[in-house]
């Protein structure tokens, strides 16, 4: 089991969700975050005040998957999030020690495999 964490552009979030859906990756959390990854700062002006926006809005996906789903998930994230410009984001893949589905008490692979509703 792996936890796949992806930081992507907010305007690509819908494309990512669509790509994940097509790859049949179902269990997803997403949150809005702010970050900085070497992209050019955006300059904004409010009356006489000019500011450099050092942090950019990003969306963070967290997806826990079984081994077989790691590569499809990464492919879907890249397909959905890539524009080719600096600032497209990162994917981090980290090992998962335990997973428990709260409702049933299932653990590990059973817990990251979606039930058909």
């Amino acid at each position: 089991m792996r936890l796949v964490i992806a930081i992507v552009r907010p305007e690509k979030a819908n494309d990512v969700l669509e790509a994940l859906y097509r790859a049949e990756v179902r269990g997803v959390s997403m949150s809005r975050v702010q970050g900085h990854g070497g992209e050019l700062e955006r300059v904004e002006t409010y009356r006489g005040m000019t500011v450099k926006m050092g942090l950019a809005e990003k969306v963070r996906f967290e997806i826990a998957v079984s081994e077989a789903f790691v590569e499809p998930t990464i492919t879907a994230l890249c397909d959905g999030a890539r524009t080719g410009e600096v600032g497209d984001g990162k994917i981090f893949v980290v090992p998962l020690e335990r997973v428990i589905r709260i409702r049933t008490g299932e653990t590990d692979d059973g817990a990251v495999t979606p039930h058909r509703a």
């Binding site: 702010q34 002006t45 409010y46 006489g48 926006m53 600096v86």
Partner: protein, 433 residues
């Protein structure tokens, strides 16, 4: 000040007092529309959407003072007025014929109509049209479309001469904006995500507050179109209360039938539809018929609002349904229920004059055709010089940041103060982070 009260000959103090207030009420409608529209778009386009209404306040006002007013209200040519009032020439304290208010105030009152109508059309192109071409569009459209249609129905043009009744702007404001919006949506084309993603309103409270302020302003819009403190203004004012209330009730019922829930954004829309429906008829129909008209106006507009998103036409904020279609409903209803005993001018079909319906139908044929074709040509003309839309990646980022360099909901987190003076070189920095 000498303390002497000066008033030009033929000017009435009471009429003038009301029209000063009414003009201010109508000017409020444009920022109210900005709020209404801003709530209906996504958060990243809030400022740009509101700014299009601010652009109308700027550009349409200047265009109106320089030439638009003259095209609309100078002389009685069939198609368009003349140049004699250009640059506000001969617009003075002397009253305009048929009114007892100063010509200068008459000009300002009519200017406020032109402004809000230009702002209405922006609803068709928000979330993707670039700001600079919109400024050019606002100038050309207010002169070549609004002024012409205002001349037809208010300024002694062919529709008015023919006997078409339009109390407060069913022709130039409502049908004019609605069908221009359709043309604009077709030329500028759909947003990149239209039909692929749900593009939802980001703040329903803005929408409700905007609709409420629009209704408030509409009392000046319709109530001022009698040009004084008189019976026609009182009738129009009261009808502007009654008709939208009936539209709301019917809209609630339609919402209940459709989804068992009354929606807030639906209610805000109903207020607009009701105000639009009664606009052309406000001073011509009895209060009870105004209520019937308000109820009736809900039906076709509701239908078009349900149908339009299923098409490929991204007429984004449904200007056609809310203004064009409801304007038609209002203009045609006059032909049935106008009552000389209330308006002192003309009867409709139900009161013995079938001919009036014909005059009204003429406006419903001619106005949309002119508005659509002229708007289409104006935008194609501007396209020769500059692209109308932002490129896709900028559209994705949101128009607030790329067109204005600001955000509606800036948190300031991570913002580094680089200067209290604008730095020209750095201002040009646009990135795609």
């Amino acid at each position: 000040m000498t303390g002497i009260v000066a008033l030009a000959a033929g000017v009435d103090a009471g009429d003038t007092a009301w029209m000063l207030a009414a003009t201010a009420l109508v000017v409020l409608m444009t920022p109210a529309l900005g709020l209404f529209y801003a709530g209906l778009v996504r958060a990243k386009n809030t400022l740009n959407t509101f700014m299009m209404c601010v652009a109308a306040l700027a550009v349409a006002t200047v265009a109106w003072a320089l030439i638009g007013y003259s095209f609309a209200f100078d002389g009685s040519g069939g198609f368009i007025g003349g140049f004699d009032h250009a640059f506000l020439n001969d617009v003075t304290f002397a009253p305009r014929d048929g009114t007892r208010i100063p010509g200068l105030l008459f000009m300002a009152f009519q200017a406020s109509f032109c402004i809000v109508t230009v702002a209405l059309v922006s609803g068709a192109v928000v979330e993707r049209m670039r700001f600079a071409p919109f400024l050019a569009f606002a100038a050309l459209w207010s002169i070549l479309v609004y002024s012409v249609l205002a001349h037809w129905s208010f300024g002694g043009g062919w529709l008015q001469a023919h006997g078409t009744l339009d109390f407060a702007g069913g022709v130039p404001v409502e049908m004019g904006s609605g069908f221009s919006a359709l043309a604009a949506a077709l030329v500028v084309r759909a947003r990149k995500d239209y039909g692929r993603q749900a593009l939802l309103p980001h703040n329903a409270i803005y929408v409700l507050v905007g609709a409420g302020l629009l209704w408030f302003g509409w009392f000046g819009f319709n109530g001022g179109s009698g040009f004084g403190a008189n019976d026609a203004s009182v009738l129009a004012f009261v009808n502007t209360l009654l008709a939208p209330a009936c539209t709301l009730v019917v809209w609630f019922v339609l919402d209940l039938l459709r989804s068992r829930q009354v929606t807030a954004i639906g209610a805000a829309t109903a207020i607009i539809v009701g105000c639009v429906g009664i606009t052309p008829a406000a001073g011509y129909v009895s209060p009870l018929w105004a209520m019937a008209l308000g109820a009736l106006a809900a039906l076709p507009s509701y239908a078009v609002i349900l149908w339009r998103p299923r098409t490929r036409v991204d007429e984004t904020l449904d200007v056609l349904a809310a203004h064009g279609v409801a304007g038609i409903t209002g203009i045609l209803t006059i032909g049935f229920v106008a009552q000389a005993s209330w308006n002192g001018v003309a009867d409709g079909l139900f009161y013995g004059d079938a001919g009036q319906l014909g005059h009204q139908a003429l406006a419903v044929l001619a106005t949309p055709a002119y508005a659509f074709v002229a708007t289409f040509l104006i935008l194609r003309f501007i396209m020769l010089f500059a692209p109308l839309r932002a490129p896709e990646h900028e559209e994705a980022l949101g128009m607030d940041i790329v067109q204005h360099g600001e955000e509606a909901y800036a948190t300031g987190e991570g913002a580094i103060l680089i200067s209290t003076e604008p730095v020209p070189g750095e201002l040009a920095t646009t990135d795609r982070s």
